[in-house]
């Protein structure tokens, strides 16, 4: 049956008739400019929290340029968030394949995501422990070994009061 062949045919047609601006932009935009184009931001709904109060985290990635931008990442999990250096507030590593992927933005695109931290750290597969009062650093970055060097990380500090 030719069912599978038909979308490919159509895709070929589209390729010949239109320009893939995202790919073209990726080819012609210098790498240094791509890094500078993406603004990474993290913010919380408050700075001080009562013990046990959920921390609402807002993560924003913004393409500053009027052209599509694509950034290579080290895994299909394009970005991460940490609490005091622990990814997703967990000491348990999650299985994510170690293969390159690309985080894509259309022109001037802003991507905004939410996370909630319940002031607990995962210490084993089945256990979470509440954290003590104090200051905690919440960080967000693209999954690249050189993310910090290229300014693709951001941090916010919160305080849990006793």
């Amino acid at each position: 049956m030719t069912r599978d062949a038909r979308p490919r045919e159509r895709a070929t047609d589209e390729r010949t008739r239109t320009i893939d601006w995202a790919t073209l932009s990726h080819v012609v935009t210098p790498q240094a400019l791509r890094y500078r184009a993406i603004d990474v931001g993290v913010s919380t709904d408050k700075r001080r929290y009562e013990p046990g109060e959920p921390v609402e985290i807002t993560i924003t990635f913004r393409n500053r340029l009027p052209i599509p931008i694509r950034i290579r990442t080290d895994s299909p999990n394009y970005w991460y968030w940490t609490v005091d250096g622990l990814r997703s507030a967990s000491q348990v590593p999650r299985a994510v394949p170690d293969r390159p992927a690309a985080f894509s933005f259309t022109r001037r695109e802003r991507k905004r995501f939410q996370r909630q931290w319940h002031q607990r750290m995962q210490v084993s597969e089945d256990d979470w422990q509440p954290v003590d009062p104090g200051r905690y650093t919440i960080a967000v970055g693209l999954t690249r070994s050189d993310a910090a060097a290229h300014g693709l990380v951001d941090t916010a500090v919160i305080e849990i009061v006793s």
Partner: protein, 359 residues
């Protein structure tokens, strides 16, 4: 040995928002001739788990852990050719959107016959005869004429029957039905269920029925797996699950099932919504919606245990197991719900009350 064994299966999807762990370490097995229901709300990961069995996850989905064994062979290790030989022949699938299954520019009969020709050594006319017999078997009238119909010429119910006919084309050992009655009106739904029930009763084909409809499960299944937020939270023979549910989520699902003669003005619902599988709740994933949740539920993930003894799941598919901290003695107030069993035949109403007892 079980026909199909799924062991600690993990399925992930990658999105801009993060990693969606649609299936998180589920294990189950299906034996020849039995019908197993996989129930849960939309977004619980039922379809992802079922598609993973045939490695039919779409682009962004990936199996990252676990094993799927069919007749002892790991499906995840099979070559593309070996897998293609199993798909449609040994393990077949009935998808929920029948209209999207068929190619609109080929006749229904030709598409079913193609499945037969691919897997069996038959002539064109033998494949055609067998297709007409299958169309007849699934209850589509005038099968010889329907063979030459295009998909758009069939009604929704007939399309679903034709999809079942295609799935049965090679007498599969396992039939995976992914919400086969979704989108059909109740009379057509009843017809499809009757067809599946007859199939279960008259053949050795094992059926994995994915649904969010507990009424359908009661009608068809021997055993039930209740899936919530990517995890199995209860597993039981069908009677045990209905007469003595052990997990608060199952209790909520059963309470929300409409019944004839029910005099309640409004059906109870489970408060809240299914959790985000990118960032699921800590501890027991059901705790934000559970009326019996205590502090420990947010910090400890319960595993499947035998509710009577509190011992870990021994893997016996006939054992009733549930994942709730109540059964490991961690809840102080316990579970407090009652199960009413109404016998429709004599209108006799028996009542049992399950009280959570502090251990």
């Amino acid at each position: 040995m079980a026909l199909l064994e799924v062991d600690d299966l993990v399925v992930q999807y990658y999105t801009d928002d993060g990693v969606v762990r649609a299936v998180d370490g589920i294990s189950y097995e299906i034996r020849a001739g039995e019908t197993v229901g996989l129930v849960g709300e939309s977004g619980a990961g039922k379809s992802a788990a079922s598609r993973a069995v045939l490695r039919l996850l779409d682009g962004a989905g990936e199996i990252v852990g676990g094993e799927i064994r069919f007749r002892g062979h790991d499906i995840l290790e099979l070559s593309v050719d070996d897998l293609r030989a199993i798909r449609g022949d040994e393990i077949a699938m009935v998808f929920q959107d029948a209209g999207a299954v068929f190619n609109p520019v080929y006749t229904v009969g030709e598409q079913i016959a193609e499945t037969i020709r691919t897997h069996k050594d038959v002539t064109d006319s033998e494949a055609r005869d067998r297709t007409i017999a299958l169309i007849d078997r699934v209850g589509i009238p005038n099968p010889a004429a329907r063979y030459a119909d295009y998909p758009h010429e069939l009604s929704g119910g007939m399309q679903q029957r034709a999809v079942i006919a295609m799935a049965l084309a090679c007498d599969p050992a396992v039939l995976i039905c992914d919400e086969p009655t979704t989108g059909l009106d109740v009379t057509v739904q009843a017809g499809i269920l009757e067809l599946l029930a007859e199939l279960a009763a008259t053949s050795e084909t094992a059926i994995q029925l994915v649904t969010h409809d507990l009424g359908v499960v009661a009608e068809l299944c021997d055993r039930v797996l209740v899936q919530y937020a990517g995890e199995i939270v209860e597993r039981a023979p069908v009677d045990d699950l209905y007469y003595d549910p052990k997990h608060p989520y199952t209790v909520g699902l059963l309470a929300a099932t409409p019944r004839l003669g029910d005099d309640r003005e409004r059906l109870p619902t489970i408060p809240g919504t299914a959790p985000d599988l990118i960032d699921p709740p800590t501890g027991c994933r059901f705790h934000p919606r559970c009326p019996y949740a205590e502090d420990c539920c947010a910090s400890r993930r319960p595993s499947l245990v035998d509710p009577a003894s509190g011992r870990p799941d021994n893997g016996d598919p006939e054992t009733h197991v549930a994942a709730c901290l109540e059964y490991t003695g961690d809840l102080e107030a316990g579970l407090d719900y009652e199960v009413q069993v109404r016998d429709a035949a004599d209108s006799d109403c028996r009542e049992r009350k399950q009280q959570g007892e502090p251990r």
